[in-house]
C-alpha cells in the first residue's frame, strides 16, 4: 500500500481529508463550494470508499463540471491520495490552505494558466512598443515577402477566445437589426389585433384564436477584409485573432486577407480546431508581411467575391493602415464599385490619429468619401469600444 498517501497522526479523520482534498482541487482552479464537500462525503457513503478506483469515480462525478475538469481530475486525485508517484510525505489536511504545500509546481502552473486565460487580450497594447516596432515599416513596400511566417507564432488560442467574445458582441451590434414593423408570427410578443378581430367573426365575435406578431430580424452579414502587409504586421496579431473569433462567433460572416493579392480564408477559419485553422490560414497567406496593394486587392474583391457575398445587408469591414503602393484612384474606384452594391463600408485603421499620418497616406484620403465609418483601432479593447458606433450605422 505504499502508493497511498500516508496521512500524519494528527489527521482528524476522513471528513477533514475530504475537505482537504476539495481545498486541493480549489487550489488547482476547480470551482467548488462547501456544498460539494458535503455531497462528496455523502457520496462516499454510497460506495465502497476504501476502494481507490470507486472513490475516484464518485468524486469525479461530483467535483468536475466540464470536460477540462475531467481531464485534469485524475492527476489531481493521484497527487493527493496516491502520493503522485513521489516520495512519501506526511500530510495533515487540517486547514483548507494546507493543500498549497503539496501541490506539484507544474500542476499549479496549469491552474495559473487556466485562470489567466482572460488576460491575453492586449497583444500590442503598449502604444510605445508598437510605435517603435512599426516605425521602420511605415512605408508600403512593393516586394512580396516570400519568407513564410507562421501565424501560429503570432496568435495564441487564448487570444482567439478573447477575440471571439469581442467579435460576438460587435457582430451582434451590427447584425441585430430588428425591423420596426411587426409581422404575424406563430410565436410573437404582441397580439395581432387585426387578425384577432377578423378571426373572431368566425366564432361570433368571441376572440377564440389569438394570433401574435413579432418584429422580424433583418440580419446583417459581415465581410471582414484584413491587410497583412509588412506595415500592418505589428497589428496582425490582434486583427487575425479578431477574424478567427468573428468566424467562430458568427456563422454568416466572411473573411479575407490581402497583401499583394486577396485570399478568402472563411473556410479555413471555420475549422473546429482553432490552431489548425490558423495553420491552414498560414498556408494561404504565403507572402505574409510583404507589400500592400490595397486598391488592387479591394478591386479584386469588388469584382469577384463581392458579387456573390455582398448585398445591401452586408457590412464590409476593412482592417488596414491605408499605405498603398497602387495609385489612390484605384482604391477610390474599387470602393465606389463596392458601394454600388449597397453595402456599408467601415474602415478601421490602426494608425489613424498619428500626427504625421494624414500627410503620408494619400490612399486613405481617396477612400474617405466612400466610408460610412472611419475609426482608429489597434487593440482588441479598441475594437470592443466600437460597439456603440456600430449600432448606429
Amino acid at each position: 500500500m505504499s502508493r497511498v498517501t500516508r496521512f500524519s497522526a494528527r489527521d482528524p479523520g476522513p471528513a477533514a481529508r475530504i475537505s482537504g482534498f476539495l481545498a486541493h482541487l480549489r487550489e488547482n482552479g476547480l470551482r467548488l463550494g462547501v456544498a460539494e464537500t458535503d455531497l462528496a462525503l455523502s457520496a462516499l457513503c454510497q460506495i465502497k470508499a476504501t476502494r481507490p478506483e470507486q472513490s475516484r469515480l464518485a468524486l469525479r462525478a461530483i467535483c468536475t463540471g466540464c470536460k477540462e475538469d475531467v481531464d485534469r481530475f485524475d492527476a489531481l486525485f493521484d497527487s493527493f491520495w496516491l502520493n503522485g508517484g513521489r516520495v512519501k510525505r506526511k500530510i495533515a489536511p487540517t486547514s483548507g490552505i494546507s493543500a498549497k504545500n503539496h501541490v506539484h509546481s507544474s500542476r499549479s502552473a496549469q491552474g495559473e494558466a487556466r485562470s489567466g486565460g482572460g488576460e491575453a487580450t492586449s497583444p500590442d497594447a503598449g502604444s510605445g512598443r508598437s510605435e517603435a516596432g512599426g516605425q521602420g515599416k511605415l512605408i508600403a513596400t512593393e516586394v512580396t515577402n516570400l519568407m513564410k511566417k507562421d501565424l501560429r507564432d503570432l496568435v495564441q488560442p487564448a487570444d482567439i477566445k478573447a477575440a471571439e467574445q469581442v467579435a460576438r458582441r460587435l457582430g451582434a451590434a451590427l447584425r441585430d437589426r430588428r425591423s420596426r414593423r411587426r409581422r404575424a408570427a406563430r410565436k410573437g410578443d404582441r397580439l395581432h389585433f387585426r387578425k384577432v378581430i377578423r378571426q373572431s367573426l368566425a366564432s361570433g365575435g368571441e376572440p377564440f384564436q389569438l394570433p401574435l406578431k413579432h418584429r422580424p430580424d433583418r440580419s446583417r452579414k459581415i465581410a471582414a477584409i484584413c491587410d497583412v502587409s509588412g506595415s500592418m504586421s505589428v497589428y496582425a496579431q490582434v486583427f487575425l485573432a479578431f477574424l478567427a473569433g468573428l468566424m467562430r462567433a458568427d456563422p454568416t460572416a466572411d473573411a479575407y486577407l490581402f497583401h499583394t493579392r486577396l485570399v478568402r480564408i472563411t473556410d479555413a477559419l471555420r475549422d473546429k480546431d482553432a490552431l489548425r485553422a490558423l495553420a491552414r490560414m498560414s498556408l494561404m497567406a504565403d507572402g505574409f508581411a510583404g507589400g500592400s496593394k490595397i486598391g488592387g486587392s479591394l478591386g479584386q474583391f469588388a469584382d469577384s467575391y463581392a458579387k456573390r457575398f455582398v448585398d445591401g445587408r452586408t457590412v464590409v469591414l476593412i482592417l488596414s493602415d491605408g499605405y498603398d503602393t497602387d495609385a489612390p484612384e484605384v482604391l477610390s474606384a474599387a470602393l465606389a464599385r463596392l458601394k454600388k452594391r449597397g453595402c456599408k463600408v467601415i474602415w478601421l485603421n490602426p494608425l489613424k490619429g498619428w500626427q504625421e499620418y494624414e500627410a503620408t497616406a494619400r490612399g486613405m484620403a481617396a477612400a474617405l468619401p466612400h466610408l460610412d465609418l472611419f475609426k482608429a483601432a489597434n487593440t482588441l479593447d479598441d475594437l470592443a469600444a466600437l460597439e456603440p458606433e456600430l449600432v448606429r450605422i
Partner: protein, 291 residues
Amino acid sequence: MAWTDLQSDMATQGYVASDDLAVALHLALTLGRPMLLEGAAGVGKTEVARVLAAVQDTRLLRLQCYEGLDAAQAIYEWNYQRQLLSIRAAAEHGETGSSVEARIFSEDFLLERPLLAAIRQEKPPVLLIDEIDRADEEFEAYLLEILADYQITIPELGTIKAVTQPIVVLTSNGTRDLSDALRRRCLYTYVDYPDRPTELAILAARCPEIEMELAAQVIGFVQNIRKEELEKTPGIAETLDFAAALMGLGVADLTADPAVLQASLTTLLKTQSDQANITTEVAQRIAGRAA
C-alpha cells in the same frame, strides 16, 4: 443497491455503461441529484435516460430543448380556448364573476407540460431534458429554480410542490457553454466514444445475431475511421447501422468486396466531404488494418 447492480441492470436492457457512468448514475439516484451528461452526438446520452426509466420501471418524460423554448412549452399553459368557452357558458347561466374566475383558473384548465408533469407523478419519473445547451439562458435560469426546490409557482394557483422528486437527466452537446450554477447543481459525466471492448460489447448486446468475426472487424473499422479527419465522427448509432447494413448485404468479411463496403459507408459518413475524403482506397486501408 450497489452501482455494479445498476450497471448489470442496464446491461440487461441492452445498455453497456462504463464504470464512470454507472457510479455517477448510482450517486445521482441515491443522492437525488440531477445528472448532466456531456459528449459528442451519438454516444448514447439520450439512451441513458430511456434505459434508466426501464430499469427503474417508471415513466420517461422528455423535454427536447430548442432555441426559443419558453415556459409555456416547458412548464404549463392555461387552456385559453376552454376558459373562454366556460366564460360564455357561465354568462348564459348568470353565474357571478368571482366564481367564474375561481373556476377557470383551476387545475382543470391547466395544460401540463413536461416539467410540471414530472413533479406531479406518483412514482418518481425519469425527466430527460435533452440538449439543454440549445435552450436560451433564460430558460436555464428557470430550470435552475425548479431543480433547486422541485416546486413551480403558478401565480393564479399558488405554488405546486413536488409529490415525488423526479430523476433528472440533462444532456448537452456543447453548442453553448452552460452556466456554472447549473453545472454545480448536477453530477457531471463526460460520455466519450467507447473503446474497442466496450463498443464490441454494445454491438453484441444490440445486435446478437452478428458473427463474432464480422463484429470484431466492424468495431476495428469504426474505431479506426474515428481517427481520420472527419467533419462528423460516427457515433454508436452509426456503428449499429453499419453492422446491420453489412449483415443485410450478407457480408461476412469486410475486406472481401470493396464496392459493397463503400456502399455501406453511407451509414457511417453523413456529410458530402466526409464521403469524398474516405475513398475506396482509404476504406480498404482502414479495413485492412481492422482485420
